[in-house]
């Protein structure tokens, strides 16, 4: 192989990426609230050998009566990812969290706790904070201009990373002779002050297994140099390749392409909804008849062979892809039965191994601690 294996991630929110997915799903409409359905979905993703799963999220939603066709319920993504943690052993788990929705101090502890509970499989998809209703929902004044928002995202990411570093890895010493549980010199106040917030102390949670859970962000949300994984979206493969190259020039470490997928599904049982069977084009037309779908990512509509060919085409330009199945019970199933096995058979992609952290799977180093003083003997 000329390239490193592709990292293949999958978005698992709701019934799928298409807003009408709930009508085509074989799950009941209330399955977004069902722990058993979540368990089925993450196990399917793990068993197929995806590198990691993401869970889209937002604190609030638009008024349900204004968009009656859309699913109005969604559980907190960190809660979902954490619930998925002990059910899986290899799959990376990356909730989408809006940086403004949560206190940076809490966010650092939440993601560190997810990393601890998953033994190093946590990531964070940095949200864009540009959610309808978010500013009204929050109990504080938030910056409104795009540039101020972008700056706050930067500041939150930087602060959260400092909080993850605030404990050195070997801070707990359990020194029975002196009675000290922890070496106070190995725990550091972060002392961050930004335009919109400040954080003084160290995290309440020790440094997690990966040092930093993997920070995953769209190129237009966070400077690629501040992310571990940059997500690029474009209307076609050429544009994706161009943006990937641009992100690398801007300091991106790993670049993943966003791809929405609608696949031929001839294997589904007849019990499903209208959009459940048939060619990808037929299925998409049926879904779009309910609600038109315009993903801002590259969209692939076709056969599993065609998707594999597209990934082969993209492989020289990107480190991996995040797939957004239109309907989980159809497209995720085709991915797990027909696409991932082919990628693994040809070694275009590789399933995570037991014991690998998400950083290992992505080929990322464990970050140095900014507070460690290596020069001190």
């Amino acid at each position: 192989m000329a390239h490193q294996p592709l990292v293949v991630a999958v978005e698992l929110d709701g019934f799928g990426a298409h807003p009408a997915a709930w009508r085509a799903s074989t799950e009941r409409p209330d399955a977004v609230l069902d722990p058993a359905a979540l368990r089925r979905t993450v196990l399917a993703a793990e068993n197929a050998g995806f590198a990691f799963a993401t869970f889209d999220d937002a604190l609030t939603t638009t008024d349900a009566t204004a968009h009656p066709a859309e699913v109005a319920a969604r559980l907190d993504a960190i809660v979902r990812a954490s619930f998925a943690g002990p059910l899986t052993t290899r799959l990376g788990l990356a909730p989408r969290v809006q940086p403004r929705s949560v206190e940076p101090f809490h966010l650092a502890a939440q993601l560190a706790s997810l990393d601890i509970a998953t033994l190093g499989r946590a990531g964070w998809v940095v949200g864009d904070d540009d959610q309808p209703g978010l500013a009204d929902a929050l109990d504080r004044v938030v910056p409104e201009t795009p540039e101020a928002r972008r700056q706050e995202v930067r500041d939150v990411v930087t602060t959260v990373r400092r909080l993850w570093d605030s404990w050195e890895d070997d801070a707990v010493i359990k020194d029975v002779t002196t009675g000290r549980y922890i070496d106070a010199d190995r725990v550091h106040n972060v002392e961050v002050t930004t335009a919109t917030f400040s954080v003084h102390g160290a995290s309440i949670t020790p440094r997690p297994p990966q040092g930093h859970p993997v920070v995953i962000a769209p190129e237009d949300v966070l400077d690629p140099s501040l992310a571990d994984v940059t997500l690029v979206a474009g209307p076609d493969a050429e544009e994706v390749a161009f943006r990937a190259e641009r992100a690398r020039r801007q300091g991106a470490t790993r670049v993943l392409a966003e791809i929405a997928v609608v696949l031929d599904d001839d294997t589904a049982p007849g019990a499903g909804g209208q959009g459940n069977r048939g060619s990808a084009a037929q299925r998409l037309a049926a879904l779009d008849a309910h609600v038109p779908w315009q993903p801002d990512a590259l969209r692939f509509v076709g056969s599993s062979f065609g998707l594999v060919a597209l990934l082969e085409q993209l492989a020289p330009a990107v480190d991996g892809v995040r797939l957004h199945p239109a309907v989980l019970t159809s497209d995720l199933r085709v991915l797990t039965r027909q696409v991932l096995p082919r990628l693994h058979a040809t070694r275009l992609a590789r399933a995570p191994r037991l014991g690998q952290s998400l950083r290992d799977v992505l080929g990322l180093d464990r970050p140095e601690n900014v507070f460690s003083r290596k020069d001190v003997a």
Binding site: P29, A72, A73, L75, R80, P86, S113, A117, Y181
Partner: protein, 482 residues
């Protein structure tokens, strides 16, 4: 977290025995993990990681095997300090409670999952949604242990800083609890479509946007989480001040109290709480009382007392004894000899305000210091010996499984408590002998469940519907029988 105040351990000699008013009452257990202060022994060879997920799995599964009502996690907003420096003698570091409980929800099926979350430095819409998400994914097993905080020392870690005056801490608490209840009630019970062919996923008009504006908060939000099988997350509260007790009587389902070592003290507390609950228009038994406690069990009473003596010496190390004395005196006394005498001067004049996460909140340090000195002089005790002699570790239950079971049954059947929230002093195995020996001793006496009867935490605790749902259903609060 509130910790026990040694001053509450009142003398009981000569008091008439409390009457058995509830002959069929059952003992309930929760487990509080992990504790604060020096009561968790980290130096023992059996002591495992305080933060690894495996430790939490072991404790929660052991508690579920023991048919406990609930598994509690505390919250940290700032690491404890002593004299301006990280307090390094006790266990430090804890996971985020809701995140950790969400993971444990996947590995347990019945036990309640209680997250301590403060009302001051959480956003109402975000907190309500996270709790509701845990409640739904766990099948109705979530609870919120409502705690307040107000000081700038803690606020330095948060966007809003020390914005809240001490007097307003329960104003904020009540406003955020009410906002959360409104958010939890936003979905109609039949909101979600039952068929893929329905006109819309949610029935038109079935999700009510929430708009709350109060003195301390403002939120306008369209919630995204329907109610769980138990309606709302159960509400716990631990504040012991008069304002805290009144807040509890008006708002919560369970009080996590510091009154569980002395029966008369516990009875007086329970009477006070029930009076406030009735004054709030609720049935007297509407709020359950769970004192925090610990157990030292052995085959004989003598062995149990010996084990207790060993335990307290493990908890109160020489360095810890100097630290505890330093907290009272308000100065760094780590240079003193722990086997020598107490300082002969009074503490520096300032209240111990608890802002550094220390115990003995609100007590008068000069009075405490003088009492310690008097006792040390009378009995010829060193610093460490007098700290050991007065340590809260003595306030737990020490004895054989049978004798401890008898005492616990007396607490619940006299109405002094509804259950106990246990802090194990050893991690991760500290619950094992409680579940293997004390629970069977209670079961033999018909005073402890032999199987979970329900699936939700609300059912385990024997609670009625959430307060707002009773009103919504048109039920008189006071008309619900006991």
């Amino acid at each position: 977290m509130t910790t026990a105040n040694p001053a509450h351990a009142a003398a009981t000699a000569g008091a008439a025995p409390a009457p058995i008013t509830r002959p069929d009452a059952q003992v309930h257990f929760g487990v509080f993990f992990q504790g604060v202060n020096h009561h968790t022994v980290w130096s023992d060879p059996r002591s495992g990681s305080q933060t690894d997920f495996a430790s939490f799995v072991h404790v929660s599964r052991t508690a579920e095997r023991g048919l406990f009502d609930a598994f509690f996690l505390g919250e940290g907003l700032r690491l404890r300090e002593s004299h301006g420096r990280l307090h390094d003698l006790d266990v430090v570091g804890r996971p985020d409670a809701i995140t950790q409980l969400s993971a444990l929800a996947a590995l347990t099926s019945r036990i309640g999952l209680v997250a301590t979350q403060n009302t001051t430095y959480n956003d109402p819409a975000d907190l309500a949604r996270r709790l509701a998400s845990l409640d739904v994914l766990s099948g109705g097993r979530a609870a919120w242990n409502v705690v307040t905080t107000d000081n700038a020392w803690t606020g330095a870690n948060f966007r809003r800083g020390g914005y809240l005056d001490h007097e307003d801490r329960y104003v904020r608490a009540e406003e955020i609890v009410r906002a959360a209840q409104a958010i939890w009630d936003s979905f109609a019970d039949d909101a979600v479509a039952t068929s893929r062919d329905a006109a819309s996923w949610a029935q038109p008009g079935s999700v009510a946007p929430v708009a709350r504006e109060g003195r301390t908060l403002r939120t306008h939000v369209t919630p995204t989480v329907p109610r769980s099988p138990q309606g709302h997350p159960v509400l716990f509260q631990a504040g012991d001040s008069p304002a805290g007790r009144t807040f509890a009587a008006n708002n919560v389902d369970v009080i996590f109290s510091a009154h569980g070592s002395d029966l008369d003290d516990a009875l007086a507390f329970a009477r006070d709480v029930r009076r406030r609950v009735v004054a709030a228009g609720r049935p007297a038994d509407d709020v359950k009382i769970f004192p925090g406690t610990s157990f030292v069990l052995a085959d004989t009473e003598a062995e149990a007392r010996e084990k207790q003596r060993w335990l307290v010496r493990e908890q109160v190390t020489p360095a810890t004894s100097l630290s505890l004395i330093g907290q009272i005196w308000g100065e760094d006394l780590s240079h003193l000899d722990p086997d020598g005498p107490l300082p002969d001067h009074d503490p520096v004049a300032r209240p111990i305000d608890g802002t550094r996460g220390a115990a003995r909140q609100g007590a008068d340090p000069t009075a405490i210091a003088r009492a310690l000195r008097t006792r040390a002089e009378q009995e010829g005790l060193s610093i460490r010996e007098v700290v050991i002699a007065t340590d809260r570790g003595h306030n737990g239950f020490v004895g054989t499984p049978d004798s401890v079971a008898e005492r616990l049954i007396r607490f619940v059947r006299t109405g002094a408590a509804d259950g106990f929230n246990i802090s194990p002093w050893l991690v991760p195995d500290g619950l094992d002998d409680i579940v293997d020996r004390l629970v069977p001793a209670l079961q033999e006496r018909g005073a402890y469940r032999t199987a979970y009867e329900g699936t939700t935490l609300r059912e385990h605790l024997g609670l009625r519907a959430p307060l707002t749902r009773r009103q919504a259903n048109g039920t008189e609060r006071t008309a619900v029988g006991a």
